[in-house]
Every structure is written in C-alpha cells, then in structure tokens.
C-alpha cells in the first residue's frame, strides 16, 4: 500500500524541476536524507510549502545555488579516519611506487580537506611530484573553498591529532600558516591538483587513474546511482588500480561486487580485479 502524500509528490516535482532546469540530478539519491534536507531548506528559507520553494528555485538561479548548499553535505575533516590513512600509507603507497606517474581522482571532494590530506601523504612519501590529483565535486561553492585551502584554526588541533595517528612524519603545523583565526594551507600542496565540476550522476569518465578516493559520497545514492558510480570508477581505474571508500561503504551490495577485491577490509580499500 503506497499513499503518496503531498510531501512526497512535492519532493519529486522539486527534484525533477531542478534536473530539468539546472541539470543537477538528485533523482537517484537516497530518499530519506533528501526528504530531511528539502524540509530543512523549506524552513530555513521561510517557505510555507515545498511547492513554494520550487517556484523560487525555478525562477531564480541564485536561489538554486543556495538550495544546493542544503542538498549537499559538506562534512569533512583532514585525515578523517586516521586508520584509513595509515593503511593507505602502509599498504597502498608501496604499490603506487611501481607506477612511473600517477593519476588520483578524489570524487566528491567537498571543501577539500581530503585533497590536502592526500597531497600531504603523497608528498611525505615522495610521490606528489609525479602525481596529478583530480578533485571533483558538484557544488561550486565547495570547490571554491577547496581551491582556497583556508580552514578554521580551531579545527587544526583535531586535524593534527588525526595526522599523527595516521602516521604523519612531521609536525602538522609545518603545513599551514595562521592568520586571523584561519589556517592557510601551504599552496604548493595544490600545485598538482586540478579542481573540476563533475557529477557522478550525469557525467562520464575523463581520465585513466591509478587510485580513486570517494568517501562518504555513495551513502547518499540509491543502489542504481551507486552502480553507476562504481561503473565509472571501474572504467577509469587502470588494471589493479585502487578504490578507496568511506568507513561504512562497500561494493558488496552492488553490481560490481565481484569486480573489486578487498585489500584492507576495515579501511575499505579495494583493488580492481
């Protein structure tokens, strides 16, 4: 028995309108989370209904960009899940050394914390100079923050602790300068980084890569869209390339379950088989 209540109808119409007008495709995102975020946005914008929000979004691109900030979830920190970065350093880096040049894709890079963490790790392992990092996201505001590499100084204590647990070789404060309550990350870390707008829902593969890192992005997709993303990753990765997922993400329930092997289970590090 399915009773499509007004809210459900309105959410579907809003998502469809966004797709038709702005080509952002949230149609295969997990429904429960999208519903909460849309309702949250409705309250924040002072709209009486989702339909009222839809009207504003449809006629005002600026309004859509504001809504996009609610529909995407920029939760990130540097060296988040230190045990994952430790496993990356210990188990994956030795194998990465075997390639003369490296291409790394950080899909859904949000505000860039993951990008700089990866760049620091690769530099300490002597690999950054021969690496190109593609950092992609659907949210232009997040990408802009990522390009700037400026974060609140308050977070640096946590990041430094993460960095140390992740097997960091130096003093974390060497990687940033402080100014006005902010930490400005060493800009040379992004010398080899290309930031780009890319959607796992609508775009295709743009390069062959040796390593793809896509953490805490796939949980927001339904199975159909997850399979699409895994398809892109599989196509992009070279033979025996690495796929790194978030701590609660897995290829196990996907159509690509048998096309990736587990390298480090708890750290969610997979290898194209």
């Amino acid at each position: 028995m399915t009773i499509e209540r007004n809210t459900d109808i309105e959410i579907r119409l809003l998502i469809e309108a966004i797709y038709l007008k702005y080509s952002y495709d949230f149609r295969d995102y997990s429904g429960a989370s999208i519903k909460r975020r849309v309702l949250h946005a409705v309250r924040q914008f002072g709209c009486t209904t989702i339909s009222a929000l839809q009207e504003r979004v449809l006629h005002d691109p600026g309004m859509f960009m504001q809504l996009l900030q609610f529909l995407t979830i920029p939760v990130s920190e540097m060296f988040r899940d230190p045990e994952y970065f430790l496993a990356l350093r210990q188990e994956v880096v030795p194998l990465l050394r075997t390639w003369p040049s490296l291409k790394v894709w950080i899909a859904g890079c949000s505000t860039g914390e993951e990008v700089y963490s990866m760049a620091i790790l690769l530099r300490e392992e002597g690999l950054l100079e021969r690496t190109i990092i593609y950092a992609t996201d659907i949210n232009p505001s997040s990408l802009e923050k990522a390009k700037q590499g400026i974060y609140s100084l308050q977070n640096m204590h946590t990041y430094a602790e993460n960095y140390r647990k992740a097997g960091g070789l130096r003093d974390f404060s060497e990687y940033y300068t402080s100014a006005y309550g902010n930490a400005i990350l060493d800009s040379s870390l992004r010398d080899n980084v290309t930031f780009a707008d890319h959607s796992l829902a609508t775009d295709s593969v743009f390069s062959e890569t040796q390593l793809i890192c896509c953490r805490n992005v796939l949980i927001y997709f339904n199975k159909t869209l997850q399979d699409r993303a895994f398809g892109l990753f599989h196509e992009s990765l070279c033979h025996r390339g690495f796929l790194l997922l978030g701590s609660k993400e897995t290829v196990d329930f996907s159509a690509y379950a048998d096309r990736f092997q587990v390298l480090v289970k708890p750290a969610r590090i997979y290898r194209k088989s």
Binding site: S30, A32, S33, K35, R36, R37, I73, I219, K248
Partner: protein, 191 residues
C-alpha cells in the same frame, strides 16, 4: 495491534541494560525485525552488536548501508552516522548535522521508518537523558503506526520518555516488563 512488520527502538542513558532486559523477554525465534538507535559517547568504536549478540545468543548486527531489513534480526545503528530506512525497506546511512548532539539520531530512524512502514510500524522509546526520539515517535503515530513509551517512573533517566509524552499520546505507557510481554505476543506477518 496486528500486522506489525518492524519495530524501532530508541534509548540513550540507561539504554544498554533496558534493551538487554527487553530483548531477554522475547522468544528466541522472534521474527519481527528490531531496529535500534542507542546513543553512545562519540569516538568509541561501537561494539554494541557483538555485546548484544553474545549476551542474547541470537543474531545482532550493525545496520549496513543499502542492506535490506530482514526478519529475525536485531539491528543497531553504528557510531558517527545517522541510520534511516528507505521506502524499499533497506537501510541508508548519512552524515547530516547532529540532532540533540547525537549522530545517530533516534528521530531520523523513527521518521524514516514511519515513511517506509506506515501503520505496520511499532515505535518504542525508552530511558534517556535528552529529547531525541520524541518527534520521531510522534511521526510514527501520525502516519498510522503504533507507539509505546517506557513509564518515566521506571526509566533510569526519565527525560526522554517525558519529552515524548509531552508531544503525543502513545498507545501504551508501560514498564519494561510490560513492553516485553506485549512485544512477545506480536505475530509477524508480511502482507
């Protein structure tokens, strides 16, 4: 109360012993899936599933993203992520902002499960020291589901049951033993 296809349970302070005693009252072959959010201090890797599995001698697992809800199992939300049930009755995880300082949030699980199960859902809110769960439980009721609140006089910490009572009138207000007896009599059906 007929045709219950899933039971959601929420608790925080005092929740481990409350849930253990409640589950001990259920028959070993209890078929209705039990979906639980239990608040725990942050940064601690949750051993809840293992602890409960060992103590109860029956299958208990941490709910995985995209995993289908299956009969006969007890599921716990893992630490650091919100747990929801999708319309196709599979789990999904997310990292939205905390609710009442908590992630996982009881409200999020309850409200999403209410959408997924409607009248076939039973929500149970137990002891706890914050107000998470009150709105989710009211939402279950609003969508035709059934609700039970642990008697605040018995709850180890009464804040959570009291907050829920302030928002809606549940089907039952019972002590743990009464909740156990009521659940044990439920027949599982999928229609």
């Amino acid at each position: 109360m007929n045709g219950i296809e899933a039971i959601t349970l929420g608790a925080s302070a005092g929740g481990v012993s409350a849930l253990l005693s409640l589950f001990h009252a259920l028959p070993q072959d209890f078929q209705i899936p039990l979906l639980c959010v239990l608040h725990l201090p942050d940064g601690r890797h949750s051993q809840l599933a293992e602890v409960f599995s060992r103590r109860l001698g029956r299958p208990v697992c941490e709910a995985q993203d995209k995993q289908a809800v299956a009969p006969g199992l007890i599921y716990f939300a893992g630490p650091g992520y919100h747990l929801s049930v999708e319309r196709d009755r599979s789990f999904s995880l997310s990292q939205e902002e905390r609710v009442f300082f908590s992630r996982p949030s009881i409200d999020f699980l309850f409200a999403s499960a209410a959408d997924a199960y409607g009248p076939a859902l039973l929500g149970v809110l137990l002891t706890g020291a914050n107000e998470d769960g009150a709105r989710g439980l009211a939402q279950i009721k609003h969508l035709g589901g059934h609700t039970i609140i642990q008697d605040p006089r018995e709850a180890q910490v009464a804040t959570m049951p009291k907050a829920a009572l302030a928002l809606h009138r549940p089907d039952y207000i019972l002590p743990l033993s009464g909740i156990g007896q009521l659940l044990a009599k439920l027949e599982y059906s999928t229609c």
